[in-house]
Amino acid sequence: MTPPSDKPLVSLRDVHFAYGERVVLSGIDLTVHRGQLVAIMGGSGCGKTTLLRLIGGQLTAGSGAVEVAGRDVGRMSERELYAMRRRMGMLFQFGALFTDMSVFENVAFPLREHSALPPELVRDLVLMKLEAVGLRGAQAMRPGELSGGMARRVALARAVALDPMLVLYDEPFAGLDPISLGIVGQLIRRLNDALGASSVMVTHDVHESLEIVDYIYFVSNGRIVARGTPDEIRASTDPFVHQFVNAEADGPVPFHYPATPIEALLAGEAQ
């Protein structure tokens, strides 16, 4: 595994964020070093996607600093943001492939938008990326004709089309069968190392992540509740980590959404 270099590529310091009244993140500290593949884990709705969108600059933190390559994302102009995003790839939760384009066109899209490369070169680059995800044969297909796993791999090829320095993955394993899941997991690791990029992966698949990532953060109630390398996590005695790794229904993460106690409700109705 790549040793962490001195200057982190991504660093979040005491980040707070709320959608209007609804507080989602309160005091997140997180660091991604160059070459690292970092996983962020947490239950559904705990703010993982929000975290990625803060790093990508689509949302602005209420307070705290989100820095990418040493620059505060929240203070960038639209121009600077777009310049940064050209060196960033993102895999969306459901792929977000352009439905009016073929697989080939989808992967070619960032190349065509951001470079004036001749068509033959675009073609070669696209086919190389598709080859890397094993879908060169599917280049003429439309997104509607792909299975979930294939769509995810095409989206992966598109996310790395411009050889980004940072790749963000939003739940790359959701809804995949075990075989596709393993394939996508290995791809993420291989692409990260081949590109010399850094990656942030949001997921709730503990076992696959423990196999491939360098570092893991656990998020709950808007805070980082645990962190460590895969080995540290496996050996951890933290109750939250224990609940998550062993998939227990109740624990520090409650089974119930906050509500008035059911006894009180029943008593109220009895009156």
């Binding site: 009016d100 384009m101 073929s102 066109e105």
Partner: protein, 156 residues
């Protein structure tokens, strides 16, 4: 996605048909000619009553369209209507030409009819047509008719 060249072809056809339709409306229906925007001259005529005459109403002579009404004003001094008549420069009229407000059909639109005179001198831009005949107003005509009938009755 459709092949881009085929798509271009379709859009090309579409735009061509669209412009053909616009040209048809302008030329054949709207009678618009860009090339020979014929030069015109304007003369005025005064009428006691213009009836329902409108700006842009046709001006005809011997039934041929020779121009259009360009303006309608009221002269506060003589209490008469002043009508500007824009005539195609190809057509010249003697200075003693008379202008009348006529109606095409019983309820049709009103237009100005020019009746050429015999003078050697021709009307020029800014001249005034001296002889004019006002619009026939239907109410007056009916009133006249009833009056005539009334005056005939005692004689019987």
């Amino acid at each position: 996605m459709m092949n881009r060249t085929a798509l271009d072809l379709w859009v090309g056809i579409f735009v061509a048909i669209g412009f053909a339709a616009l040209t048809f409306l302008a030329m054949k229906v709207g009678n618009f000619s860009v090339f020979n925007k014929a030069p015109t001259y304007v003369v005025t005529a005064q009428f006691d009553n213009i009836g329902g005459l409108k700006v842009r109403a046709p001006v005809k002579s011997a039934g041929v369209l020779v121009g259009r009404v360009s303006s309608i004003d009221f002269d506060a001094g003589s209490y008469r209507a002043v009508v500007g008549i824009e005539i195609d420069s190809r057509y010249e009229f003697p200075s003693d030409t008379s202008a009348a407000i006529l109606t095409s059909g019983l309820l049709g639109e009103q237009y100005i009819g020019l009746d050429a005179g015999g003078d050697i001198e021709m009307l020029r831009d800014g001249d005034r047509v001296m002889l004019s005949q006002s619009a026939v107003v239907l109410e007056k005509l009916i009133g006249q008719f009833l009056f005539d009938r009334a005056s005939e009755t005692p004689a019987q």
